[in-house]
């Protein structure tokens, strides 16, 4: 499909995309983590863009970050120091893990990219006081943006933003569901490009493009029987698009995931109840969407979620994708593995830093795993 080309470009050259957008007069706010209240940034007429950090000259981060911080954090720091983020009009740091927390300090003290905000969200997402605090923090964020950019974010704009995001999220979900139902309908790398580009591309454009993609896929979706073993990826961010094709070569097919660059990005619609103010509605989604390991809803929430999703999507095996030095995910791995083992779902783990192991070696590992299934 030609239309996918656009997604691939945005996914693989996000900074190029950003520069082009900037040339059209857009203001761009970079952010980390799927807990960023993007709706608010969008409602302010700004363009929210997720930063992943490229993998070039990652050593430039060495002046500020020890070698034992994850490659995402180091990559982002290297990018900003090298001037690759000059298109930014601001950066937003939601509170997540200890590494991002400190990256925020280092960023604030060493860069000058206009707007800067820490959105210190609650860490526990299961009490009324945390809900109220979340609303307070989001309102404060609204206020900070309004003040810095000298504008007003009306409730109307927020409601519009909610609609936009619901459209994006529900379309992404439908594309994922299609993949799960009919894996041959879309290649893994295309699916990856779509979800990743959705954090990069103009959101209004996405609202038009995603339904087109979905329509195209439905038309194309043949009765072709899937041959690959059905796999689910679980982990932080997947920064290695090659993984999908290597898995396909080895006889597997990624049909679902629990990743920041996957379902954790689009899980959960925002429902605005009667008379409810839009900020509370946005806040509420964080309490109902699937939880990330840097947040708490119950000690077993993620394990239960992963098993449930694996069953729901008829998964033959799970591949944990772990970024080295990622504390929250490393703490969760053993118990989620135990839950999967208990449910009789085979699993393997692949730990990586900024670079993947050589393709040949990876292929052998995946083949061995897939043959076992």
């Amino acid at each position: 499909m030609d239309i996918l080309h656009e997604f691939h470009e945005a996914a693989y050259d996000p900074y190029g995309y950003a520069h082009a957008l900037k040339d059209q007069g857009k203001k761009i706010v970079g952010y980390f983590c799927s807990y960023t209240p993007e709706e608010i940034i969008y409602a302010a007429g700004l363009h929210p863009m997720r930063l992943f950090g490229s993998k070039t000259d990652i050593h430039m981060a060495e002046r500020h970050l020890q070698s034992y911080s994850c490659s995402l954090v180091r990559g982002a720091m290297a990018d900003v120091l090298a001037g690759r983020l000059s298109f930014l009009d601001g950066t937003v740091f939601p509170h997540t893990c200890d590494s991002i927390q400190r990256l925020s300090d280092i960023w604030r003290l060493n860069t000058n990219l206009g707007f800067f905000a820490d959105v210190v969200l609650p860490v526990k997402l299961n009490t009324q006081s945390a809900r109220d605090y979340m609303v307070d923090v989001l309102n404060r964020f609204v206020h900070d943006i309004e003040k810095y950019f000298a504008l007003k974010i009306s409730d109307e704009r927020l409601l519009g933003a909610i609609e936009t995001y619901n459209t994006i999220r529900s379309n992404l979900l439908s594309i994922y569901e299609l993949k799960a139902k009919n894996p041959s309908s879309i290649k893994g790398e295309d699916l990856y490009a779509i979800v990743r580009a959705s954090m990069v591309m103009d959101r209004d454009e996405l609202c038009v493009r995603l339904p087109e993609v979905l329509k195209g896929l439905h038309q194309k979706a043949s009765a072709e029987k899937a041959v690959g073993k059905r796999l689910m990826l679980v982990g932080n961010i997947c920064d290695h698009p090659d993984i999908y094709s290597i898995i396909e070569k080895s006889g597997g097919d990624v049909v679902w995931d629990d990743l920041c660059t996957g379902t954790r990005y689009f899980d959960g619609m925002i429902e605005v109840k009667d008379m409810q103010d839009p900020i509370s509605a946005i806040a509420e989604r964080y309490f109902t969407r699937q939880v990330c390991p840097a947040k708490h809803s119950s000690p077993t929430a993620r394990g239960e979620h992963v098993v449930k999703q694996a069953r729901l999507h008829d998964v033959d095996g799970v591949v944990f994708l772990q970024l080295k030095f990622c504390d929250p995910h490393s703490f969760d791995y053993p118990y989620i593995k135990e839950f999967l083992d208990g449910a009789g779902i085979p699993n393997m783990i692949l730990e990586s830093e900024d670079q993947l192991p050589p393709e040949g070696q990876l292929l052998t590992r995946f083949e061995t795993f897939v043959h076992m299934l």
């Binding site: 970050l65 893990c97 925020s104 210190v120 860490v123 307070d136 000690p299 490393s330």
Partner: protein, 411 residues
């Protein structure tokens, strides 16, 4: 510098034995809690412990236990056990040691007593959140999370409201877990003792401002255990009062902690628990005294936010604004103050692979210190209780080189 036995004895703290006894008794009490009908709570080192004392619950600190494991050189083995359970070797070694210890009751005191509840305050790190989730699953006991929003550049009204409400939630959690009412009168008394303990602890640390110093950071690492584990009790107040007296005597007699104190250094981050003696000897061999550190100060650093007459309310704020829960520029300010207060010639930073919130940002702090204070800095890298990560010869060479610079600057 060779010391005679007599001189060595003079330098020793008589109070050390007493403290060992107190800690021994504390762990006996904790371990026999069940048979005495008492409840045990595991709590994070920077957690709000006072309400537990009010409720007569025995607080137990896995981090203090971790320090003991490290000091007994049992960390590597227990961390390895956790790794065999699937935990990455890059995780905090306190957490790994504790997780590896629980199923086998290992370590120097054959494990901690089983918790009836877990109290996790994330004012020190996100690691404790994950670690306590692990233990909540393992022991299948209630977990209370005291969520203290990170104060990058300040402490806003939203956060103030949130932590105060959690104090109420914490109290009702305890009332529920213990099946009795919270005694607010008693909480005033516990609060008063807690604050008195913190003030005395600050005084102990302040003594290092004298030249030569009667105390080193290594002594502080040792004596720290009480303000961590028994904060809010009379025991702490009595003990530190005596310790202060002993220190005054030393000053009167002109006994210094390091025989020929010529250079004064500041330590940053947690201690390397399994190399305390080695490091202490190493620096002393250069006539250098590590007079102070940023770690032990953390247990009295937010006293200024406590209102003695309104302890329960104000402690929520104080616990949120502790040293590790603030931005690195704020931390750097504390470091500058300490450099001046203790008049130090150099900064030794422990780049602690175990503790990202403490260590990431150290490079920036180091640069700020060099710019503002113009003193040399050095870095030592390790995992604070996993002795497998320590490369002695490399670190020895670094210390020697660092001390060369300090000596040249002073001569």
């Amino acid at each position: 510098m060779i010391q005679t036995d007599e001189e060595k004895k003079k330098r020793k703290f008589k109070s050390a034995g007493k403290m060992r006894d107190i800690m021994f008794q504390y762990y006996i009490d904790a371990k026999s809690a069940e048979s005495n009908g008492k409840k045990v709570a595991w709590i994070t080192s920077g957690g709000p412990v006072e309400p537990l004392i009010v409720m007569d619950v025995i607080p137990v600190y896995p981090e203090n236990h971790g320090a003991m494991i490290g000091a007994s050189h049992m960390g590597g083995d227990l961390c390895e056990k956790a790794e065999a359970m699937g935990y990455s070797g890059d995780l905090c070694s306190y957490a790994r040691a504790d997780i590896g210890c629980a199923p086998v009751n290992g370590g120097p005191i054959s494990g901690l007593p089983r918790p009836d509840m877990l109290i996790c305050c994330n004012n020190i790190c996100g690691t404790v959140l994950k670690w306590y989730e692990v233990q909540a699953r393992y022991f299948n006991v209630p977990l209370f999370i005291f969520d203290t929003p990170f104060c990058h550049t300040g402490f806003g009204d939203e956060a103030r409201k949130y932590v105060r409400r959690q104090m109420e939630e914490y109290i009702s959690f305890l009332e529920h877990a213990c099946g009795k009412r919270f005694d607010f009168d008693k909480s005033m008394e516990v609060g008063r003792l807690s604050l008195a303990g913190q003030r005395l602890w600050q005084e102990v640390l302040d003594a290092a401002a004298q030249k030569p110093s009667p105390i080193t950071a290594f002594d502080a690492f040792f004596f720290l255990a009480l303000i961590v584990t028994l904060r809010g009790t009379q025991t702490v107040v009595d003990f530190y009062t005596e310790l202060l007296e002993e220190m005054k005597e030393k000053v009167d007699l002109g006994v210094s902690a390091v025989p020929q104190e010529r250079y004064r250094l500041l330590w940053d981050n947690l201690p390397v628990w399994y190399r305390l003696k080695w490091l202490s000897d190493k620096f002393a061999s250069h006539d250098a005294c590590l007079v102070a550190d940023t770690y032990t100060t953390a247990w009295c650093g937010s006293m200024k936010y406590i209102d003695e007459n309104n302890f329960i309310d104000s402690m929520a704020e104080a616990y949120t604004r502790i040293y590790l829960n603030i931005g690195i520029d704020e931390m750097a300010k504390t470091v500058f103050e300490m450099i001046d207060k203790y008049n130090v010639d150099g900064l030794v930073m422990h780049s602690n692979r175990s503790c990202k919130p403490y260590s990431l940002g150290q490079y920036d702090i180091q640069r700020m210190v060099q710019e503002k204070k113009g003193i040399p800095c050095m870095m030592i890298e390790s995992h604070m209780v996993d002795e497998r990560s320590f490369s002695e010869s490399q670190i020895a060479t670094r210390i020697d080189a660092f001390m060369e610079i300090i000596k040249q600057r002073k001569s």
